[in-house]
Amino acid sequence: MGAVTASIMFHFVSPSYAFEDGITLILLLAATCFVIGLHLMNAPPTANHGNRLSAVGMAVAVAATLALIAHDGTITTTGWLMLAVGGVLGSGIGLYLARSVEMTAMPQLVSLFNAVGGGAAALVAIADFVRLAGIAGAPTIAARISVTSVLDVVIGAVTLSGSIVAAGKLQGFIPSNPIVIPGGRFINLVLALALCAGTGYILSGANSDITLIGIAIAALVMGVIMVMPIGGADMPVVISLLNAFTGTAVAMAGFVINSLGLIIAGALVGASGSILTKLMADAMNRSILNIVAGGFGTGDTASVIGAGATGQVRSVGADDVAIQLAYAQKVIIVPGYGLAAAHAQHSVKELADLLEKRGVEVSYAIHPVAGRMPGHMNVLLAEAEVPYEELKTMEEINPEFPRADVALVIGANDVTNPAARRPGNAVSGMPILDVDKAKSIIVIKRSMGYGYAGIDNELYTDPKTGMFFADAQAGLRAIIAAVKTLVGVD
């Protein structure tokens, strides 16, 4: 049975294989809960059961591991203390963050959990390696342990520092515009060479824990250099990619300590992160390599005021907008991150309720990269109690735009630019919402500023488009007030 040969346990031979086999089977049960839990997430009504089933699996895995540790009896009192105090302290912090986080800050929190997950995985390999290297007169550490340890440490450490930088950019204590580190590529090259040299040294049979720690430090620096030059708009890709990294690091930790539970769970997360990374990159029509190379996603939308107003722009007021909306049959709302940044989700919902009371059909067009992580906009609107049936994906809603009397764009920019259909500009080939096909268009926006792509949005100069220059929150309040006074509500 596998666990007996596990590096972490090989120094004692348990007389009762049956007990350890039992533990392995229980871990298999936990892994089954994870898979079924993820499967249940394919529809909103069952998703919560899925997450709870997965949590039950986790509790079972933790309980089985504690039983195994107690049964083996190699743990010292200090060991128990570290495990208990550390576990409780971490859980407390995690619970506090989970309860208090605002939905707009969800990408930061997910990044933070990526960071600590990757960090923990790296620490598992380091601790195991340090222990093995410290055994006097021990034979050379087997290649299968050292190779997976190095991989675990490199991926885990890159994830730890990279995710912290990503969270910092999202939270705003690190500027969200791309920061190009002078000589970043050169430093990366040097670090990569150092990593290779260190790995070679370890694989040559040196039980050198100092080398492994050096590798960890180099990887931490690489994580920072990797994420720093990536702009705010590319965060959905970066978070997904780091999520995939964390999963891989955990799977590697599973190889190191020969734990099937870690291997299976890590692989599941690796798959999930990879799928989301690909979806996000496709939605921006950019390759993952191109995003990691950085330099495209610039700062925040409002930075260029009044720039590029080349065509004729028709400006409208709250009253015009209110009348148009109230007498429409079908309205499609196109929310972007600007909506979330202005905390205007609840106002959108209020406006939609007013319109629906008048018999207007309201739905929401959600571009895959609306927000700062995959599906972020859906969560923000769900928080405002918008029914999820009204949230339409790009594929679902695009055929409906020609039938829409009004498309109301709030805080979205590049994803609505018809220029994407033509070659030769910064957004060419990017999948967009066909907002310009609606019968009329209203855009709530503070100024004519550029989006992340830094080009004019041709939608704004379309004769069908009325620009309502206002902050998302203030603009929506004005429209709601105008609907109430002009049209009246029962």
């Binding site: 909103p44 997965s54 200090t78 959990f113 099937l260 972020h376």
Partner: protein, 108 residues
Amino acid sequence: MDTSLITDVTIFVLSLLVGFEVISKVPQTLHTPLMSAANSIHGVVIVGAFLIASTAHNTVGYVLAFIAAVFAGMNVVGGYAVTDRMLQMFQRRPAPAAKEATEQGGNS
């Protein structure tokens, strides 16, 4: 090559395939909770943190085990709690009775 490594690699590859199969069916609406749920699942690294605590016999070992336990504990408990909070928002609608109950927790 030793057989347990082959077994481990086999399980890793098959789990990846299962992951691709199951996760590609999750709708876009649930992508944030999905990532957060996947996040909690990689919190299983807490098992690894516990195992290194069980073999630690010196200060370095204890410190590493302690930090790993804090990290993993944060990951696993925070991950499940926040996913649960998000998914309750997606459940609200069909049961209007539950609406008021979750409202206090959901609105910040």
